[in-house]
């Protein structure tokens, strides 16, 4: 297991909806929890991953995610069992879109 932490400052979009969990470890290969949190306008992402050595790819995926959504005061926890970047991006986008609703 490897744990990776990212923090993006000065987001512009705040979540209002209840925490959202998408993807289930066991039947799938990725669990994502997104929740509002008082973080001085930042978005933090903590990733626990079973696949070691892909830090550079995770960083690129998270940078692009932040470029798309610029979330503020949001805590994201990811529990990964070997999902591809495609699955990670899709699940994150689906969760955020659902939480932002029409604002997305």
């Amino acid at each position: 297991m490897e744990t990776l932490n990212y923090r993006f400052e000065q987001g512009t979009r705040r979540l209002t909806a209840a925490p959202e969990v998408v993807g289930v470890v066991g039947s799938g290969n990725l669990e994502v929890l997104i929740e509002p949190a008082a973080l001085d306008g930042a978005c933090t992402i903590e990733i626990s991953t079973a696949a070691v050595g892909f830090g550079k790819i995770w960083e690129a995926v998270m940078n692009d995610f932040h470029a798309r959504w610029a979330l503020a005061d949001t805590r994201i926890s990811i529990n990964d069992m070997g999902a591809t970047p495609a699955v990670v991006s899709l699940r994150l986008d689906q969760a955020v879109q659902t939480m932002l609703g029409d604002a997305a």
């Binding site: 696949a51 892909f54 790819i57 690129a60 995926v61 591809t84 970047p85 495609a86 699955v87 991006s89 899709l90 986008d93 689906q94 879109q97 659902t98």
Partner: protein
């Protein structure tokens, strides 16, 4: 000067067979127990022998008999085979009965082909596409003896192939009209065949096999294994390519990517109002993933390379859609369907394993000589085509815009691939593994499945790269990098140039197409498992045992 050596040689072979089998040869029919005697009698060392190994049906009884011949009596055979699927297909080389091979596809046996070739036991003439190999049967590689499989024969040798006609007509015609010997294994001998697929006077020997021939349900995919990413890619394919070019006539490759598209026609494509506008005419095996689209009224006609196990009753009940004989069962024909897919289809879309920066697409991996199959012909612009259609014209216009060339159309060739395969293997590479295989197997050229200059679109979860719109090699490379995601090739993109290509519509992302990613879930599939497919068929589809998982 003698002008009839082939006829004389044929007569000598038939005479030897007659002498060897004596009264046990009843007309054209012989007992299964005497098959080795027949083969020893008719075969000569160095003969070109075509053993029918198809994608689906296998002349397995004859293949087994051939592999077990005495290599001191019969050796150095030159095998012609479209598909090497069974262990027996390589046992002939291992045992020294055969030494040379011309073939198309060896998927399940690819590693062993590579080992035998490296050990010098198997000398590969060439690796072909299907249509290319069949063509050579008629020109420079006519089989001296062919060993084929049929459903039934009558006492005149008339053959009934049932729905899995596949390669049989091409092989028999090439052999019989060059005075070769045609030997058939049949599941049963009957007084009258339900229909004549091969006329009896082209057939020399018939043997009833102790077991029905083996048949592989090669194209069947369980919808339960389709991923959300594949659903997302299928949505992009339908909206960004099928609708965009009004694709009415097409061929789908094998695999889950295209199965997802088939299962999205009655749901997503229907919601976009595309019924009747896309996907009417198909060159495709009758695999079960198409059932929901047929039932929903998307599909007008399907012509097939081979049949698919378990689909017999469904096909029988949909004679407007499939090619049905007077007996009510389908006739497939790989050679004709390959020609149809090449000349009469406006699009091929299929999966691959690796794509390089020029768009060359390959399924070759080091240590495995797997060959090609059908994709190379389906996935190539038909340069001899002259009739127009909206899709063909639009692709041609895009490729020629701004150039001073005479107007002509172009086939759409779409390669669909996730940026990472399993175990995080990147699908986009600077250099194809095909180059390594070329060195290993001492080939003249790297084995490329679809050449970059035939590929018109590359579709990944990151979007669609329209290579028709690229004007320079550099643009083309950046368009490919632009949909290569987080692979090293993708991360190596020129960001500004990629954004520019996106502005010009060369790269289209899901959001550019107005696709709501929240819909990209398995709920969008018209069938989510095998049982759903059975239900969609009204109980007519009868899945093979290994797919009965409910």
């Amino acid at each position: 000067m003698s002008w009839n050596t082939l006829q004389q040689n044929r007569a000598a072979r038939l005479q030897r067979a007659s002498a060897a089998l004596g009264v046990e040869l009843d007309g054209k029919s012989l007992p299964a127990a005497r098959i080795a005697d027949l083969l020893h009698a008719v075969l000569e060392c160095g003969d070109r022998v075509c053993l029918e190994g198809n994608n689906q049906k296998q002349a397995d009884f004859l293949g087994h008999a051939l592999a077990n011949l005495n290599p001191e009596r019969v050796n150095n055979l030159h095998m012609l085979q479209s598909v090497l699927a069974l262990p027996e297909h390589l046992d002939v080389f291992e045992r020294g009965v055969a030494s040379r091979l011309d073939f198309s596809f060896s998927g399940p046996q690819a590693a062993r082909v590579a080992r035998l070739a490296a050990a010098g036991k198997l000398n590969i003439g060439a690796i072909h596409t299907y249509l290319e190999l069949f063509s050579r049967y008629f020109i420079d590689l006519p089989p001296r003896v062919c060993l084929i499989a049929a459903e039934a024969a009558d006492r005149h040798g008339n053959l009934y192939t049932g729905p899995n006609t596949e390669d049989t007509p091409a092989i028999v015609e090439a052999t019989a009209f060059k005075q070769g010997i045609v030997i058939v294994q049949v599941n049963k001998l009957v007084d009258k065949v339900p229909r004549v697929d091969v006329p009896g006077d082209w057939v020399d020997f018939v043997v009833q096999s102790p077991r029905p021939y083996y048949i592989e349900p090669l194209f069947t995919r369980d919808p339960a294994q389709i991923s959300e990413i594949q659903v997302l890619m299928a949505m992009m394919a339908i909206k960004g390519i099928y609708a965009e070019y009004e694709v009415q006539r097409l061929n789908h490759g094998i695999g889950f990517d295209t199965a997802a598209i088939e299962l999205l026609l009655p749901t997503y494509a229907e919601s976009l109002g595309l019924r009747g506008k896309i996907g009417k005419h198909w060159a495709l095996n009758p695999h079960p993933a198409l059932i929901p689209a047929i039932e929903a009224g998307f599909v007008s006609s399907v012509h097939s390379f081979g049949s698919e196990l378990g689909m017999e009753e469904y096909i029988h009940a949909r004679p407007d859609v499939f090619a049905i004989g007077p007996d009510g069962s389908m006739r497939s024909n790989r050679a004709m369907c390959q020609a149809a897919g090449h000349y009469a289809c406006d699009m091929f879309i299929g999966s691959t394993l690796q794509i390089d920066l020029q768009g060359n697409s390959s399924t070759a991996t080091a240590g495995r000589i797997a060959g090609f199959g059908g994709a190379s012909n389906m996935g190539a612009d038909a340069r001899g085509r002259r009739h127009a259609s909206p899709a063909w014209l639009k692709a041609g216009e895009q490729a020629r815009a701004g150039r001073n060339t005479i107007p002509r159309g172009q086939k759409l060739v779409v390669q669909m691939v996730e940026t990472f395969r399993e175990h995080m293997q990147p699908a986009f590479v600077e250099k194809l593994d095909a180059w390594v295989l070329m060195e290993q197997a001492k080939m003249a050229i790297p084995p490329v499945m679809i050449y970059g200059d035939d590929v018109t679109h590359i579709l990944t979860e990151e979007g669609i790269a329209n290579l028709l719109l690229c004007r320079t090699d550099e643009e083309r490379e950046q368009a490919i990098r632009g949909v290569a995601g987080y692979t090293p090739v993708g991360l190596g993109r020129d960001k500004r140039m990629v954004e520019n290509l996106r502005d010009r519509g060369v790269i289209t992302r899901a959001e550019d197409l107005g696709i709501d990613k929240r819909l990209a879930t398995r709920d969008l599939l018209a069938a989510r498992n095998m049982k759903d497919l059975v239900r969609a068929s009204g109980g007519l589809y009868n899945p093979p045992k290994r797919f009965r998982n409910w």
